[in-house]
Symmetry: C2
Subunit: 135 residues, 2 copies
DNA sequence: CTACTTGCAAACTATTTGCGTTACG
DNA sequence: CGTAACGCAAATAGTTTGCAAGTAG
């Protein structure tokens, strides 16, 4: 069924994973590209995307789909939720314990098989609160 | 500050709103376009998008951003959550009461001002359960 | 040596926008 | 009659993909 894909060691892919592990600001493909372009001058955007997709498939990173703008990536693999600042669009982890009872409630209400959920919080991050917004 | 925008009565915009109110399957712009094209043969995609954006701005409909694919629209305006079928990508309402305490918990954990949240449930809808998936 | 990885450019999807015309109020 | 709404086509943002050349194992 699920065909087993084989991946080689790839300098760039490893470096992307490292970069994501070294920071907690959930960068997007473009930031990763600009950052690694310094180390790999011939790096291409297409390859950044290709590798991000592979890392997601390998379950070594998470893709965070913001409402708008580009996707963000996250190397923290234990379950957590996200906060998105409506002013600067920064993304922060929210270490709230998994709210598994919500799945059961949703299943009862809908008759669906519920295997998971996602929670996103919105508001203003500490920085943007003091700046007086600016959106 | 927030400039007051004036909108005329528009046949097409009214019809889009009606259509959304008459169904609970959260259609996307393309389905709305194909559906209303029958009534308005000269209807254009650009105008469907323009009107959907106006309706959202008027707070008469909600935009639902799926992870992938096109945005869905919803004319049910009281607070609720959504279930997304991972097989057929249908969207269902989940009439779970607002989980406001989560906002406070997230605020404490992050130090952010949390003004709202969004919950999305994933799994298989009743139809796709019986079909034996098929994704 | 096989086939995964990469750079490059072109393609693609969903959505927005500029412009000239139509029509609501 | 002024200006919002419209049709149309072109533009945009983000991401994916085909192809030929490079490289890990």
């Amino acid at each position: 069924m699920t065909k087993k894909e084989i991946y080689r060691n790839s300098r760039q892919r490893n470096r992307i994973l490292n970069l994501l592990r070294s920071r907690d600001d959930h960068p997007d493909a473009d930031l990763i590209y600009r950052e690694l372009k310094k180390e790999f001058p011939r790096l291409s955007m297409g390859n950044v995307y290709r590798n991000l997709n592979i890392l997601v498939k390998q379950r070594r990173i998470h893709r965070i789909k913001l409402g708008s703008g580009s996707d963000r990536y996250d190397a923290v693999m234990d379950h957590h939720y996200h906060f998105i600042c409506e002013s600067c669009h920064s993304v922060m982890d929210v270490e709230l314990p998994p709210q598994d009872r919500l799945n059961e409630q949703a299943a009862q209400l809908t008759g669906c098989t519920v295997t998971g959920h996602q929670i996103r919080f919105f508001g203003l991050c500490p920085r943007c609160q003091s700046h007086g917004d600016g959106s």
